[in-house]
Structure formats: structure tokens, C-alpha cells
Symmetry: C2
Subunit: 212 residues, 2 copies
Amino acid sequence: MPQILNNPMELSKKQLEIIAIAKTLFAQNGFDATSVRDIAQRAKINVAMINYYFDSKENLLEIIIKHGIEAYRLDARKYNTETDALLRLEKMVEHYVESKFSDLHLYQILTNEANARKRDSYAVLFKELRRHNIERLREVIEYGVEKGTFRFYDPLLLHTTMIGTFLNFKMNKSVIEEFIDIPKEMTFERYLKVELTKHLKYILKAILTYEH
Amino acid sequence: MPQILNNPMELSKKQLEIIAIAKTLFAQNGFDATSVRDIAQRAKINVAMINYYFDSKENLLEIIIKHGIEAYRLDARKYNTETDALLRLEKMVEHYVESKFSDLHLYQILTNEANARKRDSYAVLFKELRRHNIERLREVIEYGVEKGTFRFYDPLLLHTTMIGTFLNFKMNKSVIEEFIDIPKEMTFERYLKVELTKHLKYILKAILTYEH
DNA sequence: GGCAAAATTAAACAATCGTTTAATTTAAAC
DNA sequence: GTTTAAATTAAACGATTGTTTAATTTTGCC
């Protein structure tokens, strides 16, 4: 008699532990290249427990995504306090990077799987999330235009550049390590976060204030 | 007695046909989610022929990558004819987008697999390619700086933004189709190429001429 | 036409996959 | 302490995986 998962947010400690391990493996090796036995071994549980807890491997992925996706939703209240358009933009970038870094593994899974599995329910969730964030970006741009600080620029294109830069930055760890020597006292992730924030602020300001 | 593949560039018609089909499937579904039987069925050949021609599925992937990766190498002669720094930058972007679009499927495979399989030989090739292209970008930037047209900006970061924007633009087909209505007489790919080129030119010019 | 090499086939291989079963242990409730 | 449900286990399930085998067909050459 398996435990029924009516509410995906009500997860036991053991389930959260399995989720954390599965998330890491899915992000590192991909969904298909990760077997339920890999997960079970790392979590020190019996293989059958995964089906007992999550019904199926596919459903485990769905629960992982549904459980974490809200962390990536831009919250306007986090930056709308700034009245200066440039400062508001900067604050939005900080909030944006912060939210992505809150769960890097999940975001990698989302980008990998949501594109390979366009049919599934979480692809819809991902799309809705993207639409939400593009709208938030549009608001910040239009605010700056009203204030006379910005020229208007397509938020869809800007969002594409932001997401793309973020993902590529994160994926190219090995290349970056080769090109730049990171201060000893800094972790790579910390460095990534600081430099990415700086870079994104710079390019967004440049694009939105560019006189062509 | 299988045919030995001493020179990966000497491929028969049948082999090229298999490669084309495998490339599409690997890009669409991922390497692991594509079975050799899927490939054989689509190519209308016996499953054993894949091992006969390519030794193994893994080796097929390697041959696909090695066979096509050179198309992505930036060739300075394609844009160095321009003496104006801005025009040279624009020409480089055109050449850059053109090269990526010459084989979209392969580029998707590269980004998906080169990150999941850091150990393999083609990951090294991919890294070397990236290094080459970053250096070409650096030259264009420094040329503009010498001419007094540009301010210097880190080519690694710029390259990250270019690649990332490109990949995300390409992956988000469904979102873009929702936001923008594409002229009936235009294919989505064509639209993607035109808009991406325009966008990349704009943001690069903005970043490199930004007065902060 | 005969012959050797290459190409192609169906079938089987062992390994691994996600999942289910049925038995057993643990935990909670009374 | 007994009872009932939940948790956990080892084992097996059928399906699919990449690959190999051994037999057959096709091809190119003299």
C-alpha cells in the first residue's frame, strides 16, 4: 500500500532526501542516463522504495520540478522599491541571479528536459514561468522608458539574452576556470554569481541606454 | 569483416545518410533516449549495420561530432576585409550566426553532450573550438579599441552572451511563436536567423560603445 | 561463370532498465 | 501485548538496451 501523494508539497524527510539526490544525478547525467538503482544506491535505500514513494521515475521528475519551480518566479516586490530606473534594473538583476542560484541543479534539469519533452505537464509550467518573468522584465523596461532613462527594447529578446548568458556561464565552468584565475578564498560558484551579476547589469544598462 | 574507419572524413553515402538521421534523433531526443534500433528503422537498415559501419553507438556520436565541428570555427578572413570597426563587428556576427545555422542539430548535440560527458575526446575538441572563437572575438574587440570606436570588454563574457543568446533563442521556439507572429511567407528558422543576427549586432554594439 | 570480399540479414547474446510481487520487519494504536 | 498499517526487503518480472554471431546475399574482379 504505497503512500499517496495527494499534495506534492507534503513530503517526508526521506522523500526530500531522495529528491535531493535524484536532482543532483539528473542534472549531472541527464534523466535518461540516471537509473533508479543509481538513485537508490546513493540514497542507501532499496530500489523498490522509489516506486513506493513516487510511483514512477517519470513522476519523480515531475514532483522534483513542481516542487522547486516557484523559486524561479520573479517577484516584483523585491525590486520595485527602487524609484530610480537604473537602480531598479540592477536590483532586478540581483534578484534574478539570486533566484536562479537558489537551485542550480533544478534549473539545469528544466532546460534539458523541458526541451526534450515538450509534451509533458512540466513543460507547460516552465513556459508559464518564462512568460511571467518576461512580463516582469517588460515592466522594468517600460518604467525606465517613462522616466526617460531607457529606450524601449523587446523584453523577449532581453530575457533570452539574460537566460542564455546565465546558462552558458554556468555550463562553461571548465573554460572559465582556464581563462580566469579565481581568488583562492572564493568558491567557483560564488565567483560565478558575482561576475554574472556584474556582467548582466552592464549589458542590460548598455542595451537599454544605447543611442543607435 | 567490418569496414575500418581510418579516416573519419571518408564516409560512404550510406554512412552519411545514417549520420544525418542519427544527428536529428540525437538532437531531438538526446543521445541516451535514442536507441540504435530507432536509427536503423528511420534509415531503413538492419540494426547490425550501425555496429558494422561505426563499431559502436558511442563511436557514431564521436564521428558525427568530429565530422561536423569544424563548421563552427570562426574564420577571420570572412570579416577582416572590413576596416570600419563597427562594420567588422557586424560582419563577424553574420558569419557567426551563419556558421551556427549551417548545422543546428549538431550544435545542440554538442552543448547537450559535451557537458554531460566531460571526459570524452569530443569535449576536448569543443573546448578548443570555444577557445579559438573567443580569441577571434578578442581580436575584433581590440581592433575597435585601437580605432577608438570601442571600449574594451572581456571577450569571454561577450562570447558567453553570444552563445547563450543563440542557444536560448533556438530552444525557445514555442515561446517565441507565442509572442510574435511570424510572416506567413517566412519559415521559423529563417525568422530566427534574421532576428537573432539583428539582436546580436545591436547588443554587441551597445556593450562595446557603452559609456558608464 | 567462378571466386573472394563486402554488405546485409535474422537471431540470439548478456546486461540493464523501470516496475511489481510477495514476504518480512518496523511502527503506531488501542 | 495484540493488532493493523506502513515501511522495507530480496527476488523476479518482461521489456529494451547495445552488441555479436553465423548464415546469406550482393558486389566487383579476373
